[in-house]
Amino acid sequence: MRVVALRALILVAALLAWELGARAANPLLYVPPSAAVPALVRLLTLDSYPELPASLLLTLREIAIAYALAIAVGVGVGAALGLNRLVGRAYGPIVAALYAVPAVVWYPSLMLFFGLDAASKIAFGFLLGFFPITLAVLAGIRQVNPHMIAVARAFGARPPTVFAKVMLPGMLFTLVGGLRTGLALTVIGVIVGEILGAKAGMGTLINHAYGLFRTADYVALVGVTLVLIVGSDAVASLIERRARRWTE
């Protein structure tokens, strides 16, 4: 109880300090809450940016396509690495080394190749989501008890059955965690891509507001984008919890 009160106190104090500090220093640069709220209202009533719904939809579509690709390729590559010992030992370290590269270095090449439209954002979101999913599938397969697989095979289970009945339940825990991380990174990738260079989407709106020094609109747009990001993660965590309950 006391903890909650203290938290609330800190939040209120921070907002108050922000409000007073921003007014005293430079309201245009520091955007006090009293300026951010009206801007948010203007944004949500489609007054300041009428293209908001279209931009949200585009960003969501880019995320969905990139995530679907990341799952398909990530599960495929992860399974190839995990199921074949030689492939895993030879190429696993290469995938892990590439994961150590800050992914943003690939973005200019992707932008050159795919252009400024949605394709380069999808490619970058895919790239960011691909690694955690691949590595989770790989780790998941490695933690499945090999005796169980041997027994299932001995009783005449065919590979698809072994995968569905033995491996999937055994690795679900790890897999779902990787899928959640993958979604979070895909979302970030798409938005980073849009902010670094795009013609449409939430990142472009944010850039537009920033470029024109419409700082209150910028804060409002960031708020809306944040809802999108937190919302997608909340859905993912719900699914994660379901899956965990199912395995227990």
């Binding site: 590269v101 943003v104 200019p108 090449s109 190749f113 920033y210």
Partner: protein, 247 residues
């Protein structure tokens, strides 16, 4: 299969991949304007020469400062948060929210405040590295074996001695793990700022090469940064290994 044969297989696969790529590019199946052949990329290395190396040096220098800041502040903050239970409980949601907040959304604001150049890059890089280190260290301090702490206290250890002799040695592996994680985040943060609002550094070099449609140079520069970051991470891994033996 022996380790040498694995390495041989890896090298052979990379060579085959490069060979296919070269053949595809030579045959004209891809537009060399966007996907240059490996030979063209190799030829671009000397042409980029000094500019790219200066850019890389600039980026690495900023990353080093950002990294030092994030390690020092992250470990210090982690020690404070991990030691004081009430502080940890009260601040936890704020730390989680700030850690989870996609930093890219505040980047335009940071650039508005600090302008173009070195300062925003260092700050943004440091923010990227700070939170994972803070969270890891705070958790490690919290989980230091209570028995050890009680025994040290019972034998009359001063608070200073408690930290120097019990807590710090106990969290060394976590600090090292955080440092290994933090470096990539710092580099990532610095590169993003350089791409978004840079006038120097590798991120800026990459961006201007892409905007100038200089694909061979772009690929060569990308390879250079990637190699540098892989080398840094592998170096830290090796250091980690050695220090853990020493422990």
């Amino acid at each position: 299969m022996s380790r040498r044969r694995i390495v041989g297989l890896q090298a052979a696969s990379v060579l085959v991949l490069l060979g296919i790529w070269e053949a595809v590019a030579r045959a004209g199946w891809v537009d060399p304007l966007f996907v240059p052949a490996p030979s063209a990329v190799a030829a671009a290395f000397p042409r980029m020469g000094r500019g790219a190396l200066a850019g890389l040096g600039d980026t690495l220098a900023k990353t080093a400062v950002a990294y030092a800041l994030s390690v020092v502040l992250g470990v210090a903050g982690g020690l404070v948060l991990g030691s004081a239970r009430i502080l940890r409980e009260v601040l936890n949601p704020f730390v989680v929210a700030l850690y989870g907040m996609p930093k890219i959304l505040v980047l335009p604001w940071i650039v508005l405040l600090l302008g173009f150049g070195t300062t925003p890059a260092i700050l943004y890089g440091a923010i990227h590295g700070f939170f994972p280190i803070l969270v890891l260290v705070a958790g490690a301090v919290r989980d230091v074996d209570r028995t050890l702490v009680s025994v040290a206290r019972a034998f009359g250890a001063s608070p200073w001695q408690l930290y120097a002799k019990v807590v710090l040695p106990a969290i060394v592996p976590t600090v090292l793990a955080g440092m290994r994680l933090g470096i990539v985040f710092c580099l990532l943060g610095v590169l993003i700022v350089e791409m978004f609002a840079g006038i120097r550094g590798m991120g800026h070099v990459l961006n201007s090469l892409a905007n100038g449609f200089q694909a061979p140079e772009l690929f060569a520069a990308t390879a250079l940064v990637s190699a540098a970051s892989i080398a840094i991470v592998l170096g830290l891994d090796a250091l980690n290994e050695r220090l853990s033996h020493w422990r």
